[in-house]
């Protein structure tokens, strides 16, 4: 699916990007400005980024670097001011074939854990029997097999976020966008959820675009870490993570690469301060 807003792109006579592979994400010269006139804020400036199918890409940067805006553009929740965003996924049931996990679980409080997962299946048009069976499977996948009947307020923060993960998986999308999904969790729960993500992706390698401000987390999870600058958000650097899985967040290679990336971020921030 291609959405194309920019007049720049038209004058360049760029070939239509419909040939993007399933599960891939491509951003070409994407800018996003919020507001207009003197109060306009440029959130993203000429961002180009390509994520291959099945790749796990982490976006990292100081707050205000437009990471979340970038995800909203890929999810189709916002439209770019200029540039082009495309995903290889055909829109299913009106969606873009893109599942999203937010920092908050964003579960519907009037539904049980199973009901929340079933809602995503229902939106895709799944029948009742299929919904029930699939929701139970997905809850077992995230280790919540016995908690399907609980309502969100009866679950802990980590459990809620895992229900949200099951709900995102229920969309069976080729692309999963995660916007600091573990930012509000304690270190131990976060560590367990990292293991869980690895385990689930061992079954099916969907594409992930993962936003975080935690450098260790990015190195622990990603195949690649993309570093962004703040105000306006630009891609300034990227690091391939060639560390064998399973990884530990406190292992030496992870710490070493994280230190390098942190140095790069510091450099950028001190330039900002000047």
């Amino acid at each position: 699916m291609v959405r194309q807003v920019s007049s720049v792109a038209v004058t360049e006579r760029r070939a239509p990007a419909t040939a993007v592979a399933t599960g891939a994400v491509r951003l070409t010269g994407v800018s996003k400005v919020f507001g207009r006139g003197s109060s306009a804020v440029q959130a993203l400036d000429q961002v180009s980024l390509e994520v291959a199918p099945g790749e796990f890409t982490c976006l990292i940067g100081a707050s205000g670097c437009g990471k979340s805006t970038l995800l909203a553009l890929v999810a189709g929740l916002e439209q770019p001011t200029s540039g082009e965003v495309s995903t290889g996924e055909e829109g299913r049931g009106g969606g873009r074939g893109v599942a999203v996990m937010f920092q908050e679980p964003a579960l519907f409080p009037w539904l049980t854990a199973a009901g929340n997962v079933e809602m995503a299946l229902r939106a895709r048009g799944a029948g009742r029997a299929e919904r029930r069976q699939r929701a139970a499977e997905l809850l077992r996948t995230v280790n919540l097999g016995d908690f399907g009947g609980k309502r969100p307020h009866e679950l802990s923060g980590g459990m809620r976020q895992r229900v949200a993960l099951a709900r995102a998986l229920a969309q069976d999308a080729g692309i999963l966008l995660m916007d600091e999904p573990f930012g509000a969790l304690d270190a131990m729960t976060r560590d367990l959820l990292h293991d869980e993500i690895d385990r689930i992706r061992a079954g099916r390698a969907f594409t992930v675009l993962f936003v975080t401000h935690n450098v260790q987390e990015a190195v622990r999870l990603g195949d690649r870490v993309v570093v962004m600058s703040s105000r306006p958000g630009r891609v300034i650097d990227e690091f391939a993570v060639d560390i064998e899985r399973p990884r530990r967040i406190d292992s030496a290679p992870v710490a070493e690469l994280a230190a390098q990336i942190t140095d790069r971020l510091r450099e950028e921030m001190s330039r900002d301060a000047r």
């Binding site: 969606g95 699939r134 385990r199």
Partner: protein, 294 residues
Amino acid sequence: MPADYPEAKTVPVYAEKLAWLEAQEAPEPGQRGRTLARRAWASLWPKALAVIIVLAIWQLIHISGWKKDIFPGPGGTLGNLGDQLKTGLLWHAIATTAERAVIGFGLAVLTGAVTGALVSRIGPLRAAFGSLITGLQTMPSIAWFPFAIILFGISTTAILFVIVLGAAPSIANGLIAGVDYTPPILLRAGATMGLRRLSLYRHLILPASLPAMVAGLRQGWAFAWRSLMAGELLVIIANQPSLGVLLSTDQDQADMQSATAIIIVILLIGIFVHTLFSMADNAIRRRWGLVGSS
């Protein structure tokens, strides 16, 4: 094409670690130990105490001899009420009034829901009618009766008309508030799941606005009940005994005992229906985890 994820049970150590962790952080279950009888008693005794205090003050005033000829004591009044409950007339009157309340409130819910849905969905309508609906809420419904009587004559229709005008704005406003305050994060989650238009309303916006809607219904009921009582006192229809007619007859005959007894009946019906709405409200809040289980 459902993907096959490896089952969690293949990693027992992991599951164990997780279970331990969750036992530490899962919210405490509420006070389940308390029996139903004890809970009922805990909620009932303050109300019983209030009734006893009111009856005691009433009795004291009666004993003091203030307006002794016309001011009845609680004993006489409650005796009168007991006698009336044995006759068919009071029950007939209650039935007539209840029927009007049900029909009037039902029409108000219909009108309010349709208006609220249209106004909350359509921008220009909202700009035009939003403040008008709030304005109507502050309008004393008794002021509509001359209008209604000229329009519909001395008839049940006139009463129902005023009930709808009195109650529908609150119900519409409840719905509008509910739609407005649907949390944006849930709307984003719904959008990424592919909920659109009708399914978005059915599965997200309507359930999310339920608490505000119930609050609107409760307030609407209070307005409907007031409008109905005002209507029954102003629009006296021959051969149709209602609570308002009985009260009005008592006024004509200066029958203070009976008038007080009817007032008690009106009060009790109002409290009863209000309690039903409160129970619905509490059930929703418990379900959503907005209150403790106590």
